[in-house]
């Protein structure tokens, strides 16, 4: 099994090439060849296919693709290459388990298969920027108040004592440490101090900030989880590699963070499906992830709920869940913002698609492409957990039928979606409770979805 130092050695000894040549002469043509050679084809009629053989075939295409292309290191301008044998060995040796949380909240985040009725690992919350510490605290308490929750993401702060946070600056380090303190404090107040925080460190864009704020005296534990991002497509830099090195030395949970972009270098859905699957292999081999946070997104709409992305998510999730022991959190971005019907339709489509396709975990779908400040509330988290639970009762085929019906409700509005409300517009900032209108909308949509046959449990 290759150690991380072996990976690093390849980053300094692999074939040298400009980044542009890697994109144009390696990534694009070889991806095309693999898509053609394996005959991977998108079918817009079936956003959630039920074909195990096709899923396994896609997995083989991804192994082949990764062995042909490798990972580009931006600092050394060299390609980190792996043979098929090395890739397969990493898959064989992977445990498919991530140990997260402490005390009562300690849990094993493991695998699921397509059509399996077992509950996924419920990961809620988001790193969406929050403009006050009070709102950040309220939100986290709100997440933790949902009984089923296994792990959370905490918001990013945009300022510290009124000083705006600049990426990579001392203000970022202060805010990162403050963000962790707020997270721990809010979890304690909710009576669940052991819950793992698995989007570390949301406030930190720079690797040096992440590493510095991770010193245990600031409150983080090895059973939390750190995001170590690949750069799209199929690239990495020393910033991420330094984080990985630090976390490996500490024995802390590494979350490989990956985001293939449909319509970008991956081309259409077929190419993106291959790359999406290959990224899960990369998470094992390069970032040495204990878990992965994965979000294929659409280049034009910045969301994960268009028909072509849903298909891409479904097939790559099936390929990975059946073949690669890596607990992946599948994260969706919606076009519409919080407190809109469209958000709930999109979120339900994404969750049905991912859960039926065998997602080991799903995170609360992020409203408004995750770029609206304060554009996230615990209400979306509640909906995410309830819908994901209901989705475990649906086979891929049933999920497919429902996803098609949901698409009919929102597909035409993807181009110009409603941007929705901010937290402070639909929640009481002091009590941390949702406003009446939002509760009404929530109940209305849930009823409508239940009528469509989404089996919410009666306890709600």
């Amino acid at each position: 099994m290759l150690s991380f130092l072996d990976v690093y050695e390849r980053a300094i000894k692999g074939p040298i090439m400009s980044e542009k040549d890697f994109d144009m002469k390696v990534f694009i043509p070889r991806l095309r060849n693999v898509v053609n050679a394996y005959g991977i084809q998108y079918n817009r009629e079936t956003p959630v296919p039920s074909d195990d053989r096709a899923a396994d075939h896609l997995y083989k295409a991804a192994v082949d693709f990764l062995s042909q292309v490798g990972i580009y290191c931006q600092n050394t301008n060299r390609i980190i290459q792996f043979t098929q044998e090395e890739i397969l060995e990493a898959v064989r040796k992977a445990s498919g388990k991530c140990f997260a949380g402490e005390g009562k909240e300690a849990g094993i985040f493991g695998m699921r298969k397509p059509d399996e009725q077992k509950a996924p690992w419920f990961h809620v919350g988001s790193g969406i920027v929050t403009t006050s510490e009070e709102m950040a605290t309220n939100k986290i308490e709100g997440y933790a108040s949902i009984a089923e929750v296994n792990s959370i993401s905490i918001p990013a702060l945009d300022s510290i004592r009124g000083i705006p946070v600049l990426a990579g600056s001392p203000a970022e380090l202060y805010a990162a440490i403050r963000g962790i303190k707020i997270g721990r404090e809010a979890l304690r107040r909710a009576g669940r101090p052991g819950l793992p925080i698995m989007n570390l460190i949301s406030t930190a864009a720079a690797a040096v900030t992440t590493i510095a704020a991770s010193a245990p005296q600031f409150g983080l534990r090895i059973t939390d989880g750190w995001l170590c991002g690949a750069i799209s497509e199929m690239k990495i830099d020393f910033g991420t590699m330094n984080k990985v090195a630090y976390l490996l030395n500490w024995g802390a949970n590494i979350g490989a963070e990956t985001s293939p972009i449909l319509g970008g270098y991956c081309g259409g859905p077929a190419g993106t499906a291959v790359v999406s699957t290959a990224y899960i292999l990369m998470g094992l081999l390069v970032q040495k992830g204990n878990y992965q946070l994965h979000f294929p997104i659409h280049f034009k709409y910045g969301c994960c709920t268009t028909r072509d992305i849903l298909w891409t998510v479904s097939v790559s999730c099936q390929a990975a869940s059946r073949n690669i022991p890596m607990p992946v959190i599948w994260l969706g971005y919606t076009a519409a913002g919080p407190n809109t019907k469209m958000y709930f339709y999109e979120a339900a489509a994404y969750l049905l698609c991912a859960v039926a396709s065998g997602a080991p975990s799903v995170q609360t779908p992020h409203p408004a492409k995750a770029v609206k400040m304060d554009g996230f509330t615990p209400m979306e988290c509640k909906f995410g957990v309830e819908t994901a639970k209901a989705a475990t009762q649906a086979s891929r085929q049933q999920a497919n039928e429902k996803v098609i019906r949901l698409l009919e409700k929102y597909e035409s509005q993807i181009e110009a979606p409603p941007s929705g409300s901010r937290y402070q517009d639909c929640y009481d900032v002091v009590s941390g409770k949702p406003g009446e209108a939002y509760v009404r909308l929530y109940d209305e949509v849930k009823e409508e979805l239940a009528r469509m046959g989404i089996p919410f449990s009666s306890k709600g």
Partner: protein, 221 residues
């Protein structure tokens, strides 16, 4: 072959992303003594426009544009000596220097904007991601850019867009460039607030925006 037919074939070669055909019909232009500049405008460029349109509609994707761009460039290479001999130049729409600001490694959106601008005839100089603010100014001076495009995907790096504009002002260079901004959290309001010349929410809007700006005269330039 008729002139019109050759133009259509050139256009098709671009649409199909067929480098060999593009080169072959470019040679045909030379053999038939057709005005090479007209062949570019009526043939090659028309193909790119069709593709740009399909890309906007989501019917084709970035690699298709890139491959067509390669075919376009190799046909231009064939035609260039003839154009130079006739002292004709392809009208340059303008030079855009583009990059992602300091501290930010999100590059895909910026790449797409660059590629779509190129497909629309702009000269694009992409300086990459996570670039210090001063670097934008230095490079813009070096390549004699008309437009500086600043991409930022994070609230914590948006301030660097302002910083570039402030540096331009401090160096008395602000009037020399159009500054356009974009990226996930960026808005028109932010553009107004920091004194940028424009904001675009997508690559296509970026093309329209920059074309519109270049059609205006820079005050005091």
């Amino acid at each position: 072959m008729e002139q019109q037919e050759i133009f259509e074939k050139l256009s098709m070669a671009i649409i199909e992303g067929d480098e060999n055909k593009a080169k072959a019909f470019a040679h045909e232009v030379l053999r038939s003594k057709i005005d090479p500049l007209e062949a570019v405008e009526q043939g090659l460029s028309k193909g790119m426009i069709v593709l740009g349109d399909r890309f906007e509609k989501g019917e084709i994707f970035l690699p298709d544009l890139l491959i067509a761009g390669d075919a376009f460039n190799s046909a231009i290479d064939v035609l260039k000596p003839a154009m130079e001999a006739l002292k004709k130049n392809i009208a340059k729409v303008g030079t855009v220097l583009i990059g992602t600001v300091n501290g930010d490694v999100h590059g895909i959106g910026k790449n797409i904007v660059g590629i779509v601008l190129e497909a629309n005839g702009f000269e694009v100089v992409d300086i990459g991601v996570d670039k210090p603010s001063l670097k934008f100014v230095e490079e813009a001076e070096k390549v004699k850019a008309d437009v500086i495009g600043l991409s930022s995907l994070m609230t914590t790096t948006m301030t660097a867009q302002k910083e570039v504009i402030d540096i331009l002002k401090e160096m008395n260079l602000r009037k020399k460039y159009w500054v356009v901004i974009g990226g996930g959290p960026v808005t028109q309001e932010w553009a107004d607030q920091i004194g940028a010349d424009g904001y675009a929410g997508s690559a296509f809007q970026a093309v329209h925006l920059i074309k519109r700006l270049l059609g205006q005269k820079k005050i005091g330039a």
